[in-house]
């Protein structure tokens, strides 16, 4: 009885897991079908491996530019946000100063403000700075990562206090301690934060949609949404384009499953 139960549970789990993959798989199959296999009933579930739609769609729009834009925006955001994160978390953990409680409350308050309320005023700011329709406008609003500060602070608090005391006795100043001890010991957690920022940039829609208008600076998700709203009956082309946007994220997930999952399960502690 127990073995039957175990097998049933495993089978059910596997079936559910594959069901979660189905919507992506359907796009994959549709994009690789021969045209006569697309509008058929019942739906076609084995691909024809016909890559002509991929080639045609790739050539028909500036996907390469959109991907480059996304990567440049993501890397710049990562560089800025990781720097600000490290400095802020270090001060919070290792430097005693007056008003730390106020600073901490101010950081917590950011979580209370819905990002959506900020979209319109931030657009106005960008318009005043003449930054509308630029890559910079997609980078600087994310220069401070509260998620990163919280995650890194949590991590630093678990490091032994003795490291800091020993360094102090050895005459190692704050900046040297930060550079030589804290950074090397925080590499995995900073990598997780960087991955999150990258995924967030790749998937972000509403802000880039608002603040950009030309494909010259637009990230992939915006180009894809333009394609979708303008050419919504071109199923094969859309499915191929959907693969351009989705497959890199799947590859990233397969490559860095562990840090991504670790970051996800830790992020629940932030609001908790």
């Amino acid at each position: 009885m127990r073995t039957i139960g175990h097998v049933l549970r495993a089978a059910l789990a596997l079936a559910l897991g594959l069901a979660f993959l189905l919507p992506i798989y359907i796009s994959f199959v549709t994009s690789l079908d021969r045209p006569q296999d697309v509008f058929v009933y019942p739906p076609h579930l084995v691909p024809d491996w016909n890559f002509s739609v991929w080639v045609q769609t790739w050539r028909g729009n500036t996907w390469m530019l959109a991907i480059l834009n996304t990567v440049v925006i993501a890397l710049a955001t990562i560089a800025i946000a990781l720097t600000t994160t490290v400095l802020c978390a270090y001060a919070l953990v290792y430097i005693p100063f007056r008003g730390k409680a106020v600073v901490w409350t101010a950081l917590l308050a950011v979580l209370m403000i819905p990002e959506q309320a900020l979209l319109i005023p931030n657009f106005v700011t960008m318009a005043k700075l003449h930054l509308v329709d630029t890559r910079i406008a997609q980078i600087i609003p994310y220069g401070a990562s509260i998620f990163g500060v919280f995650l890194l602070r949590q991590h630093l608090l678990t490091l032994p206090r003795e490291y800091h005391d020993a360094a102090k006795i050895d005459g190692c100043g704050h900046l040297a301690f930060l550079w030589r001890i804290v950074l090397p010991l925080s590499r995995p957690i900073l990598f997780t934060v960087a991955l999150y920022i990258f995924i967030g940039c790749w998937n972000s829609l509403i802000w880039p949609l608002m603040v950009t208008s030309s494909p010259r600076v637009q990230p992939i998700e915006v180009l894809l949404s333009t394609f979708l709203t303008q050419d919504s009956s071109n199923w094969q082309g859309l499915s191929a384009a959907a693969m351009f946007a989705t497959l890199p994220m799947i590859a990233l997930f397969v490559l860095f499953r562990k840090p991504i999952l670790r970051g996800l399960s830790k992020s629940s502690g932030i609001n908790g």
């Binding site: 796009s27 739906p43 994160t85 430097i95 005023p121 318009a127 790749w202 509403i206 949404s225």
Partner: protein, 313 residues
């Protein structure tokens, strides 16, 4: 550096700074310098805009044009705009469908997938995978699955002898279809934090319940769920807040229209349309201000209910 060298430096430091005053001041200055970058960005793009957002709502602002004080007129206009009410009602309906189904489904999936065996670890990854994929990119696959004539969902319905559904073409089914998509996209996060909460439960409690003859269902409902109720409460709050801010999923699945017949026009989608399709920035800001107040109120209510139902160790 030798030990004596270190000792000399240490004594030099302590001797040179007998009073804590200057060192305190220096540390304070250093802290300010280290905190400045984060707060520079937060002031520019969070704190100031949060204030500006409310100010905009009381103005008649046109980018590149004139700005005039408008008093409460934007709020009056919104409150007598049937589409604003419709969008708020749609958002509430969406949240009402999302929160209970997220809780039930994430608990069911976590209970099913809780195991360290490879097959289950693999399945956990498959369930989380949609969470890291882009909304528009994956919505295209769902649009195809929802296709009334050629989609796999209606094929399944026909196979089991049910009548096919119009899904995104039907005003009745469009919102449930968006909910189904959102569950697929976001549930992995909830399952993962439930699994992580379940793995931190004290072994002894579950083991002694097993010895006392409690079956798997009893253990789940009588021990595991009450013990992880803070996590369930966290999921409820996060899903509520996320649902009230629904945008990308409806933007993609309704091809940015909020249709059919405004059935999937959420508050944020309507605000977006007013601001960026019609250029009504102040009108949109007034509606955004009301949405934010609603989000705060609903979050406070959820917290109030949650604290009464949650068991803290």
């Amino acid at each position: 550096m030798s030990v004596t060298d270190a000792f000399l430096r240490w004594t030099a430091q302590t001797v040179a700074e007998p009073s804590p005053g200057p060192s305190r001041l220096r540390e304070g200055l250093l802290a300010a310098c280290l905190l400045a970058p984060v707060f520079l960005f937060l002031v520019a793009f969070v704190y100031a805009p949060a204030v500006l957002a409310f100010a905009l709502a009381f103005l008649n602002f046109h980018p590149g044009g004139t700005t005039a004080y408008a008093g409460l007129s934007n709020f009056h206009a919104a409150l007598s705009d049937p589409l604003f009410w419709r969008s708020m009602a749609n958002t509430g309906l969406y949240a009402l469908m999302m929160v209970p189904s997220t809780l039930v489904l994430s608990v069911a999936l976590a209970a099913l997938l809780q195991s360290n065996r490879r097959l289950f670890r693999f399945t956990q990854s498959l369930v989380v995978l949609p969470y890291v994929t882009p909304a528009v990119g994956t919505a295209i696959g769902w649009l195809w699955m929802y296709n009334p004539n050629f989609g796999i969902l209606n094929a399944l319905l026909r196979d089991v002898g049910l009548r096919p559904i119009g899904w995104l073409n039907s005003p009745h089914w469009a919102m449930p279809a968006v909910v189904l998509y959102s569950l697929w996209h976001g549930i992995g996060f909830d399952v993962l934090i439930l699994l992580s909460a379940m793995s931190q439960l004290p072994e002894g409690v579950l083991e002694s319940a097993r010895v006392d003859g409690a079956g798997p269902w009893t253990r789940l409902f009588r021990i595991t769920l009450p013990l992880i109720s803070p996590t369930l409460f966290f999921i409820a709050v996060m899903t509520t807040i996320g649902s009230l801010q629904a945008f990308a999923q409806v933007y993609a699945l309704s091809l940015s229209s909020g249709g059919p017949e405004n059935a999937t026009l959420t508050a944020l989608l309507y605000i977006y349309q007013q601001a960026f399709t019609n250029g009504q920035f102040s009108y949109a800001a007034a509606m955004a201000a009301m949405l934010v107040v609603c989000i705060f109120a609903v979050t406070a209510l959820t917290r109030w209910i949650g604290h009464r139902l949650t068991f803290y160790q």
